[in-house]
Symmetry: C2
Subunit: 274 residues, 2 copies
């Protein structure tokens, strides 16, 4: 574990990351110590730093520290950047370039194989995500909404779907969602809520490589329930097909399989395919 | 500084307070080491712990640690409670009573006397607060909205007013707001956004003692601008009368003076009166 390059496992109580959640994070899959979709993670982190006015990390520095922590293993590396320790109060001096940089390793936990082979059941979360265009898309440290939504079930479901205040479908608690309708794949637009997942962006930008036609739009619950197929995705788990949501049944579509095979063959063999 | 009773100044990088802002805080004014409005702070903390399903602190323990940190001085004591270190991911085991408790001292910084004697100018923040009924009222650690709103001005204003997504007046970035109209004092209802300030609650509950008639309701920007008088308040600063907001001018009303005198005489002489 590295904090500003030093081998310690703690941060100051007065760090704004703790006091206000004033920072960002990335959770990066590593295969034999090499980060998967690293450029995409760095791009999102850069977008977040720009929006929150936090000094961006140098990519080479992050890569060096990530490699040191990953030690050539298959693992998850978490990177946190905060505005660091400043004077008391919400205000910060924009000329002060202080920040705190944390890089540490998590074990790759076993994911049940049937999440990939048979597909998963989805919960519908009662907790609604707030609309917040200034923070939408970012992977910031204010995650109480996800904590509350994830606390709504303990077993039986592998993921839960969250809606916004108006009832639009936004995402999973830790993943993004795509669904197939009339031959097209749709994922909710994230201009007012949600996290722009690295895997979501990868799929949107490379859709032609696995013969998917993708678009972002406002999505109602009715649209999702009427889908021909659904999957959830993130950069650690890859893709999980959905087989049940709110009593509706779904099958694993051909194009979901094609996507999973592409990710396994071309992005990382750690992404389980079917 | 005390972390779980130990004299250290840091917490684990893996604490959910940092990772997700999964916790609550209180900022308590202390006069010669004695906390002002302590019961009210503890009541709010208890409400937050209940709503977030975090194990509540024993009042006697908090008071003992607060006293140790305050060392009989005039100061500000910050108390933070988080869900502590748990397994990776948003989910938490509700049977696990782990938490992290932080108590530390901040200097009482000088507030310009004219904020009390002449009154302050208010900024109108462009950043809108999200609607979030599950978190409304709580002083939780997800404070990016306040960080963003407070970054909108550097000088000329002592506080900024934030609205919700629909344009209703909610609060200041670090205070609550009251305004006088037709002899009554009104403060915005906080059922969907905002922090239930300890000073706000004290004023609402003791209004008859300083001959104020108070109520909570939905408040439009037009109502606030048409007010006969305005003040902002919190438990550290006490009460600041407002003299200017969006080109509208206000004078310091008799009842604002009466309130300030009451707080100075009956709650803490640290609350500057006029």
């Amino acid at each position: 574990m590295l904090v500003n390059g030093k081998k310690v496992s703690h941060i100051s109580v007065e760090d704004r990351g703790l006091l206000y959640g004033d920072g960002l994070f990335e959770t990066i899959l590593c295969q034999r110590g090499r980060p998967v979709l690293f450029d995409e993670h760095m791009r999102r982190l850069q977008m977040g730093c720009k929006k929150l006015d936090i000094c961006m990390l140098e990519k080479d520095l992050v890569l060096a520290e990530l490699s040191e922590c990953a030690q050539q293993s298959d693992c998850i590396i978490k990177i946190i950047i905060t505005r660091g320790v400043r004077a008391r109060g919400y205000q910060y001096d924009p000329n002060d370039q202080t920040s705190t940089r944390v890089v540490y390793r998590n074990e790759l936990t076993d994911i049940p194989l049937h999440n990939y082979t048979s597909g998963i059941r989805l919960q519908l979360c009662r907790h609604r995500l707030p609309s917040n265009s200034a923070l939408a898309g970012l992977k910031h440290l204010n995650r109480l909404d996800q904590v509350i939504a994830r606390s709504e079930w303990t077993q039986g479901f592998a993921e839960g779907i969250t809606l916004d205040q108006e009832g639009h479908v936004i995402e999973g608690t830790m993943s993004n969602v795509f669904f197939e309708a009339e031959g097209k794949w749709i994922t909710p637009q994230l201009d007012r809520a949600g996290v722009e997942g690295v895997m979501r962006n990868f799929i949107l930008q490379n859709a032609d490589k696995f013969s998917m036609q993708c678009e972002q739009s406002a999505v109602t619950l009715q649209q999702l329930l009427a889908a021909d197929a659904i999957f959830v995705c993130n950069s650690v788990i890859g893709v999980w097909p959905v087989i049940e949501f709110q009593s509706s049944k779904f099958s694993v579509s051909e194009s979901t399989r094609r996507l999973m095979q592409y990710l396994h063959a071309n992005v990382s063999s750690l992404y389980t395919s079917v």
